[in-house]
């Protein structure tokens, strides 16, 4: 149990997807202009990441690995995740329209995104077991959501700041992300994976 807790904290904070491994930057900078959108996106990424990691784990360990088809891993995962997202979108649209209205559009955006596909690949590469894969997925998702929400709150404040014209938009956002990464770096000695 302790081992899993450690893994969770490590993947959420010290090995944060966005701020130390630079995954999912497109979403990170695209969505973080707005706090509500960030919360929706964080939830969407966490849930899609968890479901797709479990599915990919099963496909890799019960189909690809026994048949010796590891070469097809990348193609399989991409198609699997894109298909899963489409399916989720349809199911949510039909059965939970309120939820769909809230963060349905974010689902489509993450169909082929590096942050979602990185976790299944990492799991397959290091031959992680079921529980480890599961905890890694949830931890990474929560870490992503955390970074996104923090960044959105900071950027909302930034709107009132007087920024030089050439730094406006992406420039200042990157520098802000650098500061955020620096503060996450402070945790780095705490737990190592």
């Amino acid at each position: 149990m302790e081992e899993y807790l450690k893994l969770f904290v490590a993947s959420a904070i010290t090995n944060n997807m966005v701020l130390t491994q630079f995954l999912g930057l497109c979403i990170f900078f695209g969505v973080s202009k707005n706090l509500n959108a960030s919360i929706g996106m964080g939830m969407a990424v966490t849930s899609v990441m968890t479901i797709s990691t479990l599915l990919a784990w099963a496909v890799y360990n019960y189909v690809l690995h026994p048949l010796g088809l590891e070469v097809l891993m990348l193609i399989t995962f991409v198609v699997l995740i894109a298909g899963l997202v489409q399916l989720l979108e349809m199911v949510i649209k039909k059965h939970a329209p309120a939820l769909y209205n809230m963060w349905g559009i974010y689902l489509v955006l993450i169909a082929t995104n590096c942050v979602v596909i990185a976790v299944p690949i990492t799991n397959a590469e290091s031959h992680n077991g079921f529980m480890t894969s599961f905890v890694l997925a949830i931890g990474s998702g929560v870490g992503f959501a955390l970074a996104l929400i923090l960044m959105a709150s900071l950027r909302e404040k930034l709107q009132y700041a007087d920024v030089p014209k050439s730094l406006e938009g992406l420039g200042i956002s990157f520098i802000l992300a650098g500061m955020l990464a620096l503060s996450f770096f402070g945790f780095s000695g705490m737990i190592t994976l």
């Binding site: 491994q21 497109c26 990348l74 991409v78 014209k165 992300a177």
Partner: protein
């Protein structure tokens, strides 16, 4: 001839994938802590984007627009798999170092964007040039970022000491936070240059009129 050159050239500066379009930023930060890795990653992306443009362009008349995105993604995934297997066989060191990010080439927005915007509508040779130009712009930007980061953060270039032993390296530049800050400053300087050029152009038009 001018037209062909323009197709190639636009990817280098005007529509530079990293600095201008801000697409596919993940590798721009993740593997630019030294020049060698950045060059390897840049060339890999250049290969994938060019090959994919050619494939998409060859099949453009047979692909139904409704299923085009899955077709493009499958094509990209196949090319990336070929690339990874090749690197694994001939350059195992690079493969080990860049493993995760090589796999992630499959979801780079810039590759899908070029297939969709250019290769799906243009003949093979033009698509090839477009891919080459965009890829070169990407690789160039990666190497440029890596040179700055390695020089400041480690005092070396491709592992060779440049500033001498007395230089005290600013370690933060090769760590993740430094990557963000450097790219932020670089995007700002690109904007500054762009604004300056626009101003010159406006002034020129004003004097012509």
């Amino acid at each position: 001839m001018k037209n062909l050159w323009d197709i190639f050239y636009k990817g280098l500066f005007d529509q530079n994938p990293i600095f201008r379009l801000a697409l596919s930023l993940c590798p721009a930060l993740a593997v630019t802590s030294n020049v060698y890795n950045a060059l390897a990653m840049g060339l890999s992306v250049m290969f994938v984007i060019t090959a994919n443009n050619v494939v998409v362009s060859i099949f453009r008349k047979w692909v139904n627009p409704k299923v085009r995105v899955p077709v493009y993604i499958t094509s990209i995934a196949t090319i990336v798999t070929v690339l990874i297997l090749t690197l694994q066989a001939y350059l195992p060191d690079i493969y080990k170092e860049l493993y995760l990010y090589l796999n992630l080439i499959v979801v780079f927005a810039i590759i899908l964007a070029r297939a969709e915007v250019f290769a799906a509508k243009n003949p093979v040779f033009l698509s090839f040039l477009d891919g080459l130009g965009m890829g070169a712009g990407f690789a160039g930007a990666m190497v440029f970022i890596a040179i700055v980061r390695e020089l400041l953060g480690n005092g070396t270039l491709m592992g060779i000491q440049v500033f001498g032993a007395s230089y005290d390296p600013a370690l933060i530049m090769i760590l993740p936070p430094g990557g963000f800050i450097i790219i932020g400053l670089m995007i700002a300087s690109f904007n500054l240059i762009g604004q300056h050029q626009d101003k010159l152009k406006a002034a020129k038009q004003g004097s012509d009129a």
